[in-house]
C-alpha cells in the first residue's frame, strides 16, 4: 500500500515538504512538482531533511518544472530521479494512491 506524495510548493514558502516528510511511510515515493522542485536542490537549509529521508523514501522531481526555473540537474540532491510527465503518470500507476501536499 504505497503512496505517491506530490509536493508543489517551495519548502521556503510552505511547510508542505516538512509535513510530507513527517507523514510519508517507508517505501513511499515523493514527487516534487511546480515550485516544489526547489526542495530538490542541494546546499539549501532544507536539503538535509530530504537527504536523511532518502533511505526510506524514493524521491523524484518533475523535469519540465526544473527547466522552467533554470535549475540544472547538477544542482540536485544526489539520488533524486528526474522524471517527465509520463514518468509522473507511471508513478501514479505504480503506487496505490496519490496524496497531494498543497
Amino acid at each position: 500500500m504505497a503512496i505517491l506524495h506530490t509536493v508543489n510548493k517551495s519548502p521556503f514558502e510552505r511547510n508542505s515538504l516538512d509535513a510530507c516528510l513527517r507523514l510519508a511511510a517507508k517505501g513511499s515515493s515523493v514527487l516534487m512538482i511546480e515550485d516544489g522542485v526547489y526542495g530538490a536542490m542541494k546546499g539549501t537549509e532544507k536539503s538535509a531533511a530530504v537527504d536523511s529521508a532518502k533511505g526510506d523514501i524514493s524521491f523524484y522531481v518533475l523535469g519540465p518544472d526544473l527547466k522552467a526555473r533554470g535549475i540544472s540537474e547538477d544542482k540536485l540532491i544526489d539520488g533524486i530521479k528526474v522524471v517527465d510527465y509520463s514518468g509522473f503518470v507511471s508513478l501514479t500507476v505504480d503506487n496505490d494512491k496519490v496524496q497531494a501536499w498543497l
Partner: protein
C-alpha cells in the same frame, strides 16, 4: 487505468491547471482513461469562454476545450463553486436570473457528487491545487 482529476485553482494564477493539462495529455498518450476532470474552488474559472490571454501565451480554457473535444473528456465544473464565482451556463443563467452565460465549450456544470463518483469509480484520484 481510470484516472480521476481534481483541479482546485483557476488558470494563470496558479500552475495547477497547466500541470493537470500536461499530466492528462501524458496519461492519454500512455493509454490511460481520464474518467473525469473535476474543477473545484477557483478551478471553476478554467471554464470561462471569455478569457483573452496574450497571443504568445497558452490559452488555458481553450486547451481544455480542445483536449476534451479530441478525447471525449468529461470536464465538470462544480455548481456551488461556479455560482459563487460567476461561471454560468444556460441552465444556471435561467435559474438564477442572469443576463448571460460564459461557460466554455466542453465544460458542464454539475454537483459535488460527480467528484465523489470520480473518487469511487477511478483507480486513482490525482489532485492539483495550491
Amino acid at each position: 487505468m481510470k484516472l480521476g482529476i481534481q483541479i482546485n485553482e483557476g488558470p494563470y494564477n496558479h500552475e495547477a491547471s497547466v500541470t493537470a493539462l500536461n499530466y492528462c495529455k501524458a496519461a492519454i498518450e500512455a493509454g490511460h482513461e481520464i474518467f473525469r476532470v473535476f474543477f473545484y474552488h477557483d478551478g471553476v474559472n478554467n471554464g470561462t469562454r471569455y478569457s483573452t490571454p496574450p497571443q504568445d501565451d497558452i490559452h488555458i480554457a481553450n486547451s481544455w476545450s480542445d483536449l476534451a473535444k479530441e478525447h471525449n473528456l468529461d470536464l465538470v465544473v462544480c455548481v456551488a463553486a461556479a455560482q459563487r464565482r460567476g461561471i454560468v451556463d444556460e441552465g444556471e443563467q435561467e435559474r438564477n436570473g442572469k443576463d448571460g452565460n460564459n461557460i466554455a465549450d466542453g465544460f458542464r456544470i454539475s454537483g459535488l457528487g460527480q467528484l465523489i463518483e470520480a473518487g469511487i469509480e477511478s483507480d486513482r484520484l490525482v489532485v492539483f491545487g495550491d
